[in-house]
């Protein structure tokens, strides 16, 4: 399906991953324009309802990315987020929604290209 | 709690007195020690120089046989066998793929359910040992642990690797007076006994020198290899040192047997190169 253009929304934390995306920009790395970024103070702030709303509004793939454990600017936001992701992912899978459509990651600078390739490959 | 017994080659060969004294003590304590059925050589130091898989396969086959027999733990009196079996069990439990491969190799399913015990662990676990003592072994003794009984620390997890105390405590239980000396875990020359006897003479010599200097009346060991070098190589030691050492070297099971009043013959004392007798003069116990 060459013309199928997956719409991918990236929910990212403002510290590691947003800065990572900026760095990906300054080093002129290319990735698919289908990925758009929404900024949050921390992955702890990303509510599962938003992922749901993104799917309901037509997103094909979702990336949720934040700082590595122990690197969180607020010390524990990513830990809390991880625990919710584990349960939310289990529920989505239970409901028959393909969890490969939601990619969780701890991403630094090189993340952007790897993320899009993952989602694009899926698409 | 079913305890199996893995004799290994030395207990049937050069260390028959260790086996005799062990079985005599066990009988006296009312503890039966069924041998692991169809046991094979543990590979000792030779196997892992030849082939790492062989070094794991031999002990794995032994432990698998013990498990099939329903043994919860296996007493391994010889320190070298004890070290090989412990290391094998540790590595196979840590790596599931390796466990499956080695089990396949020996066509026996090794599960790792049987624990590996050395002689001190087994004796220490027997309640009321003091009560069994009829003739306290009132001698000043130097407890010699050797190298393999307490190492590698991370795997064996038995006593403190650098400064062990467990044998000293056991000897105190049977009335002995363990001395504080510096060669508890220094090497006796081990396998060089045949190829580099001169080295053994030097290293074992140093051990005996320190023991005698501290006034020890006997050296207590728990490993056939240590006994071999300290006892059988005594002429080489004396020739190199240019002086005589009369200090006897006995197994912990023999010391325990003597303390329990078992006859010397049953303990195999007559098999030693260095006569096992204590000059009346310097035995402190005699004066009480």
């Amino acid at each position: 399906m060459p013309d199928f253009e997956p719409k991918i929304v990236a929910f990212v934390c403002n510290w590691c991953t947003y800065a990572g995306a900026d760095l990906t920009g300054t080093s002129r790395m290319k990735y698919s324009p289908q990925v758009s970024i929404i900024r949050f103070p921390c992955t702890g702030r990303i509510d599962f309802m938003l992922l749901l709303k993104a799917f309901a509004s037509g997103a094909d793939g979702i990336i949720v990315s934040g700082c590595h454990p122990n690197d969180c600017h607020y010390s524990s936001g990513n830990f809390h987020a991880r625990r919710r992701w584990i349960i939310f992912r289990g529920l989505l899978d239970f409901l028959g929604i393909d969890v490969r459509r939601v990619q969780f990651s701890w991403y630094g600078r090189w993340g952007r290209s790897r993320a899009t390739s993952a989602c694009a490959a899926w698409a | 709690m079913k305890t199996g017994f893995y004799p290994g080659c030395s207990m049937k060969g050069s260390a028959r007195e260790y086996s005799e004294s062990l079985l005599a003590v066990a009988a006296a304590l009312g503890r039966d020690l069924p041998e692991v059925p169809d046991w094979n050589c543990c590979g000792a130091t030779a196997a892992h120089n030849l082939d790492p898989d062989l070094a794991l396969a031999l002990p794995a086959r032994i432990l698998a046989a013990a498990e099939k027999e329903g043994m919860d733990e296996v007493l391994v009196p010889c320190a070298a066998c004890y070290s090989r079996l412990s290391v094998t069990r540790h590595e196979l439990l840590a790596d599931e793929a390796l466990r499956r491969r080695i089990s396949g190799l020996v066509e026996a399913d090794f599960r790792g359910s049987a624990r590996v015990l050395n002689i001190i662990e087994w004796l220490a676990a027997i309640p009321g040992l003091e009560g069994m003592v009829k003739a306290p072994f009132a001698r000043r003794v130097a407890c010699y642990y050797g190298c393999l009984l307490v190492r590698p620390a991370g795997v064996v997890n038995f006593d403190r690797p650098e400064e062990p105390q467990s044998m000293d405590l056991l000897m105190k239980k049977i009335g002995a007076e363990p001395l504080d000396w510096a060669f508890k875990t220094e090497c006796c020359g081990a396998g060089f006994s045949v190829s580099r006897t001169d080295l053994v003479a030097k290293l074992s010599g140093l051990i005996l020198e320190d023991a005698v200097a501290r006034g020890a009346e006997a050296v207590i060991v728990a490993c056939p290899m240590c006994h071999l070098n300290l006892d059988m190589r005594r002429p080489n030691i004396e020739r190199r040192a240019g002086k005589k050492y009369h200090i006897p070297v006995i197994y912990i099971t023999q010391a325990l047997g003597l303390a329990m009043g078992l006859p010397a013959k049953k303990l195999g004392l007559q098999r030693h190169k260095v006569a096992v007798k204590f000059p009346a003069a310097n035995s402190a116990a005699k004066d009480i």
Binding site: Y18, A21, D22, G25, Y74, R84, R112 | -
Partner: protein, 671 residues
């Protein structure tokens, strides 16, 4: 009706090279609520900012979206510009169409389409932005320094000299810390008393510093700028005002054979004692565990001899409550004492001692008055072996880090030994020499070449006593790992530097995080070494990790600078991007149901309980309330709250919801 201004930047041609900025401006103009949409070559330039300000004034815009570079770059710039034009700065958002769009995609419709998407997303967000005012939190301009070692002393002096009051809390009867126990210090061999005592006196006499010795922190509540500390002043059994420090009581006290902590157990002290001659304050304290009066109710000799009747046997601990605005943790470190090395005979042979004990032997105020005599029989040791890395860099012993200062003080010890025993033969067993400071390498080189210290590169395997001598078995790896034995008269172990006893409990009282070895965790190892993750609490010295005196002093001054910066403003001004719990009209009062599970989600303990009472005072509801001083705006509670009662300003539910819908072409509804 929203009146949004959209400003598309070419960024020279960084953006316009791949994004059709004209088309984006056109598309933006068509978004409902956009009243002004232009593009310009350099938005962040002065003319560019001028354009924004003029548009705000002419079209009285209610929101601004600048589509240009990353908000991490110019958000402050444009927010200041909007503020200058009278628009609340938090009604201005940046749409990142450079790093996240023009730079990372090829030229083409898709890229321009994405730029429009991003602009539409941020326009939707800005419509839901609220005008926010920075949070102003009052600051109590008093600092509390915990720990009276060199780091605590330096921090206190710097803060006090910056004109602020300081409360220095020290657990021991005197300030000075481990430095006061040292004989000389590397690399200059200054006598530690000579360079430390003046500072201690300066602290005691400084008008701005209140000194609480023999005291510990009982509890700390509150938040940056508004801490409430309760300090427990342990009873010295002495009235400090009356006591002149004459020392008669100590001389007369019959119970004399107590191991002196100051002399690291080598010397003895009476039950009523002054730790060391230069102690500040120079007032004794009664050791209630050993004083005969407290054990058997008899004696009271010190009371009789005291010329000023200053002894108070019935004195009780006293709790002092103080308000402080900042806390500097300078509790220092300790060296490993326990039977950590049975194979070295530490604790079994009296002549196997640790570094601090050697310092006391070498110190003029030490038990041997500076003469090099060994603890067992007082003889002068002819051969001394110094063992470096005794515990450090040894994962098997559970301490894998390098304690940093042992190489230096071991070289110093060897040098001091040679200066006192010219014919003595010092050996040092080492793995690697770590002498990275200024004049450090030269110092160690001098010990080797001028003072003839025999450095042996190898580990010591065992130390045992043989006819009066300490046999040190080791190996010299530089000579083919040849095993060697040295018959020594004394052995000094440079044991590992570990966290101070009680460090963990203190950290829990202050909600400061610490690592596996109980050293306090800095906010960022490279960029914020003197701050912690808890706002208002700073670090100085070895409590953060083992370090030498120069580094501790530098960190202390760094922490003091941070405190001074904090106290420089009348009020603490912080970005208002923090969480707020919703309040509504009666009868609901708030959608929060008071389950308080958000409290366990908050890493800063910023969520408190608030009781809502009716006019008649009857309790209606207990709901959550966010403390603006503590909340750092991570939003973990916001995503957790089931009823969406807690929201974070700047990333509120409405804002992010609008962003998601706008990004996925659902667009926002209100015209």
């Amino acid at each position: 009706m929203a009146r949004i201004g959209v400003f598309i930047c070419h960024c020279g041609e960084n953006i316009s090279a791949t994004v059709d900025v004209g088309k984006v401006a056109e598309a933006a103009a068509r978004i409902p609520g956009v009243a002004h949409s232009v593009d310009y070559k350099y938005m962040c330039s002065d003319p560019g900012q001028q354009m924004v300000q003029n548009a705000i004034r002419e079209k009285n815009l209610t929101g601004v979206v600048v589509a240009a570079c990353s908000p991490r770059m110019h958000e402050p710039t444009f927010r200041r510009a909007c503020a200058a034009a009278g628009l609340n700065p938090f009604l201005c958002e940046m749409a990142n169409i450079r790093e996240h769009c023009s730079w990372v995609h090829e030229k083409g419709d898709a890229t321009t389409e994405k730029a429009i998407d991003i602009v539409r997303t941020l326009v939707a967000k800005v419509k839901k932005n609220k005008a926010l005012q920075p949070i102003k939190v009052p600051v109590t301009k008093v600092a509390m320094v915990i720990g009276g070692g060199i780091a605590g002393i330096q921090a206190s002096l710097d803060i006090a000299n910056a004109g602020h009051r300081v409360i220095l809390v020290e657990r021991e009867p005197s300030i000075g810390g481990h430095m006061s126990q040292l004989s000389e210090t590397f690399p200059t061999l200054d006598c530690s008393q000579c360079i430390l005592t003046p500072r201690m006196v300066e602290v005691a006499q400084h008008a701005n510093i209140t000194l609480h010795t023999y005291s510990e922190l009982e509890s700390l509540e509150g938040f940056i700028g508004n801490f409430k500390a309760r300090i427990r002043k342990k009873a010295r059994s002495l009235d400090e005002k009356l006591c002149t420090g004459c020392g008669l009581c100590a001389q007369k006290c019959p119970t004399r054979r107590i191991a002196s902590e100051f002399d690291a157990g080598l010397g003895l002290r009476p039950a009523i004692y002054v730790p060391f001659p230069q102690a500040v304050p120079n007032k004794p304290v009664i050791d209630r565990e050993h004083c005969t009066y407290y054990l058997k109710g008899k004696c009271r000799l010190c009371e009789k001899v005291c010329p000023t009747q200053a002894i108070r046997f019935d004195q009780e601990d006293e709790i002092v409550e103080v308000d402080v605005g900042a806390v500097v943790l300078a509790t220092g470190f300790d060296i490993k004492h326990s039977d950590f090395f049975p194979e070295y005979g530490y604790g079994k042979h009296k002549d196997v001692i640790d570094g601090l004990q050697f310092e006391r032997l070498a110190s003029a105020s030490g038990p041997t008055l500076g003469e090099m005599r060994r603890p067992s029989d007082g003889k002068v040791p002819e051969t001394v072996v110094f063992v470096a890395c005794a515990g450090s860099r040894d994962p098997a012993k559970g301490i894998e880090y390098c304690s940093k200062i042992c190489c230096m003080y071991t070289a110093k010890h060897a040098m001091l030994y040679k200066h006192k025993v010219h014919h003595g033969k010092p050996y040092v067993f080492y793995m690697d020499i770590r002498a990275g400071g200024k004049m450090y390498e030269e110092f160690v080189r001098r010990a080797m070449e001028e003072d003839g210290v025999q450095y042996v590169r190898g580990r010591v395997s065992r130390i045992f006593e043989r006819n009066g001598k300490l046999v040190v078995k080791g190996a010299d790896t530089l000579l083919g790992a040849r095993p060697m034995e040295i018959e020594a008269d004394m052995v000094v172990l440079a044991t590992a530097g570990v966290a101070q006893a009680g460090a963990e409990e203190l950290a829990q009282k202050l909600h400061v995080s610490y690592d596996a070895h109980k050293f306090y965790a800095e906010a960022h190892p490279k960029l914020r070494p003197v701050e912690t993750n808890t706002a208002g609490i700073f670090l100085a010295g070895a409590c953060q990790a083992p370090k030498d005196i120069p580094e501790s002093v530098a960190q202390a001054s760094g922490a003091a600078a941070k405190v001074a910066a904090l106290f420089s403003q009348a009020e603490l001004v912080r970005e208002p991007l923090i969480a707020v719990v919703d309040r509504q009209a009666p009868p609901l009062y708030s959608s929060c149901v008071g389950c308080f599970l958000c409290q366990s989600a908050c890493p800063y303990q910023a969520i408190e309980k608030e009781e809502i009472r009716g006019r008649d005072g009857q309790l209606l509801k207990t709901v959550a309330k966010v403390n603006p001083g503590l909340c750092q705006g991570c939003g973990t509670c916001v995503a957790f709250c089931r009823t969406k009662s807690i929201d974070i300003q700047g990333f509120s539910h409405e804002q992010v919801h609008a962003e998601v819908l706008a990004l996925l072409n659902r667009g926002d509804r209100d015209a």
